[in-house]
Symmetry: C2
Subunit: 440 residues, 2 copies
């Protein structure tokens, strides 16, 4: 094989990043792979919009069939995003014996099981390093580097937009709304930021990582997903007072036969490495039974980092093609893959620590009433802060709990919400306590 021929579907931001990486580093890629990676055909429905890269007219097309029907093209890259027609294109490419690369986390999270099954059926590779964490080699780390480990937990800061907003809020005390506006002005948040700030994007990514870490199918709809739009500057300040930072964490944890998979704002100890991840950076913290704690850190999005990840997959598949190794590693990195879905533990059964911020009238007996209800539900208080100005007759009353069960918390908060002395909905933030994340 004198070159590896590649077809690209989707010339958006990431597509342009891939084109640029392949162009800028063509020489180094050839040295490392042994033969050139050649972009033979680029397909997009819009060939007219201005783009940051120039692609020779003769390889451009609006017809996906120009890629699918070309037998010289051995690898098809899907970078259009969304469910359809991305899914159909990938399935069709695999059916025709082509290896595929995708950065489409939403599609993998929701329809991964079907795509992986197709890859197995047609004996082709499906590579997706770019789907999670931009250029950070997370997928490789789970499929190869930590392959000899039983994964205990994954904690991920997997959305740069949300982390940027929380960083601004923590540094400058601004509100969520103001930090979001700033992120939008910087081009870090999109006009409709909901997928990022409501945790859906992070949930897509943790679904993909969990299926790799635990070698199982994941039902995306069972993932509890909560965003950061309700966090206010006082929560961040109280967290600091208790020695914590608030991060939007995607958490995956093995719990016997079941796994926890959830995305929500989380307080983590200030001294934890994840607490130190600022701005638009991503980081993923993995614990393995042999390796201990490992963290990977970098830019989780952007044209060039994501292009770097797609290109690394092309080299990988190119190396397979050159030695004729076919499918060296199955999609979920498990031979005879466990097709039985692994059950996600219902949130009601979660046991963790909690931060509550109650708004209550400033009068005697309130603390006693609230703590009484908590006690009745087996929720034990670790510490209390009552400080700050009275706002319209209310004061914030803040508590950190010992480990409690989510179901009990839900019932207790409902009961407390009905008290006349309570003037606004209670804020709940889950806490990963020092023990759970201790590293030293």
């Amino acid at each position: 094989m004198k070159e590896i021929q590649v077809g690209l579907i989707g010339l958006g931001t990431v597509g342009c990043g891939l084109v640029k990486v392949l162009e800028d580093n063509s020489e180094i890629l050839k040295e490392r792979l042994g033969v050139p990676l050649r972009l033979k055909r680029v397909v997009d429905i819009d060939l007219e919009s201005p783009r940051p890269v120039s692609v020779p007219r003769k390889i451009l097309s609006t017809q996906v069939e120009d890629i699918l029907a070309d037998e010289e093209i051995r690898i098809v890259v899907e970078l259009i995003g969304g469910m359809e027609p991305a899914k159909t294109f990938l399935l069709e490419a695999m059916k025709r014996g082509k290896h595929v690369v995708t950065a489409n986390k939403a599609l993998l999270a929701v329809h991964g099981n079907e795509l992986f099954a197709a890859a197995r059926e047609h004996q082709v590779n499906i590579a997706f390093e770019a789907a999670v964490g931009g250029g950070i080699p997370l997928i490789r780390t789970l499929r190869e580097g930590l392959v000899a480990n039983r994964v205990g937990h994954i904690y991920g800061i997997l959305n740069g937009t949300a982390n940027y907003i929380l960083t601004r809020m923590a540094r400058e005390g601004t509100t969520f709304a103001d930090a979001l506006k700033e992120a939008q002005a910087q081009g870090i948040a999109e006009a409709d930021p909901s997928l990022d700030v409501e945790g859906v994007d992070a949930a897509h990514k943790i679904a993909v990582l969990s299926s790799l870490a635990y070698c199982c199918e994941i039902d995306f709809n069972q993932i509890h997903t909560e965003g950061i739009s309700q966090i206010d500057p006082s929560d961040i300040q109280f967290a600091k007072d208790f020695g914590y930072q608030i991060k939007l964490l995607a958490i995956s944890r093995s719990d016997g036969d079941r796994i926890e998979v959830r995305v929500h704002p989380t307080m983590i100890p200030q001294e934890h490495m994840l607490a130190k991840v600022e701005g638009a950076y991503n980081a993923i913290h993995i614990s393995g039974d042999a390796v201990g704690d490992v963290m990977l850190y970098g830019l989780g999005a952007g044209m060039m980092p994501t292009g770097s990840a797609v290109a690394s997959d092309l080299v990988d598949l190119g190396r397979d093609l050159l030695v004729g190794s076919g499918v060296r590693i199955p999609p979920l990195a498990c031979e005879g893959e466990a097709l039985v879905p692994r059950q996600i533990k219902p949130m009601d059964e979660l046991v963790t620590n909690y931060y509550f911020k109650f708004s209550a009238v400033d009068q005697p007996g309130v603390l006693s009433k609230i703590s009484g209800i908590l006690g009745n539900h087996d929720i034990s208080i670790a510490s209390v802060i009552q400080k700050g100005r009275q706002v319209k007759g209310s004061v914030p009353l803040v508590m950190m709990t010992h480990e409690a069960r989510e179901r009990d918390v839900r019932l207790a908060l409902a009961e407390i919400g009905d008290l006349k002395v309570v003037t606004a909905p209670t804020r709940l933030i889950r806490v990963e306590n020092r023990e759970a994340v201790d590293e030293d």
Copy 2:
């Protein structure tokens, strides 16, 4: 192939770690590889000492030939360390067509070129994930994950012992000697700690990483290597005053046709992620032209983390054997590997920022004399601190410079050392300034 048969030479700490990982996680390894990894033969010169794992008597031997002559054994793991007989064993195993795995950074740093040439000649794989950074998948990251990048620089905290000592010194203000004693008591430093604290171990590791990052041969003897034994608590305090942390950094940087490769105590800005790496942890910060800044973090040593890395190499080579792919990635991850050594830039030509701590008598005109000499050598001062008690008539005078050339610095410090008002040798610590390491 119904199983992958492995021979292990060396049942020391890492060897025992490998045995334990293969035992504890045999099921998960089988799931991920598809067939069992079977330790068929374990060779060590000492079969009597007590060990943390038990190996069936019948697979133990003192004769390496029992592994080398066994045609069923396809992969040989060398975990005895040191130069000889490790090198001979590896060369002989490759000559007989066996793939090899080693954790021997010293051997790779000094004789890597010969070993890699043997691997090419005999068309076998040489894997060495465990040689650098314990279980952190650094080698894979350079060979695969960041393969589409031109590496700009690597900054590594690659020695956990040195980082532990510096962390104690920074947290508690203790001296190097006391922190070393504590590390020894904790089992983190060896009885003879010189390889760790004098930077030699880190130099071995950065040699290996540099040859991968820049696809070239490295002459280990050209690597400037300086340890931390001369750092005293006042240096750490002054660093803090300027907004820096002192870390033992292994640095590799592309500079046109040449590369910088050096190991020395380095001041890095407190807000840099590497400054936040504490205790026995390792971290490596890599900049790639497409991916931007990436950092990997974890335990860089220890029985189980290193065992995890060796086992990941076994799975990798096992996957190759199962699909019959032979050598999928050449040793330095470059086809037609550039066998021309890449020149290491002489230290005299280095341009960086410096911290100087002068000991001078407390009298008028001293600052003027010292700064005059620096000026004569084109060294421009960025800031000065003169504080602290007078000790036997001397006071510390501390300066941070703008970028200067190492040769000029050497000449200036020699001249300053000859001044009568200067009472002790000047301490020099190189500084990676904010610009060089800025991430946001």
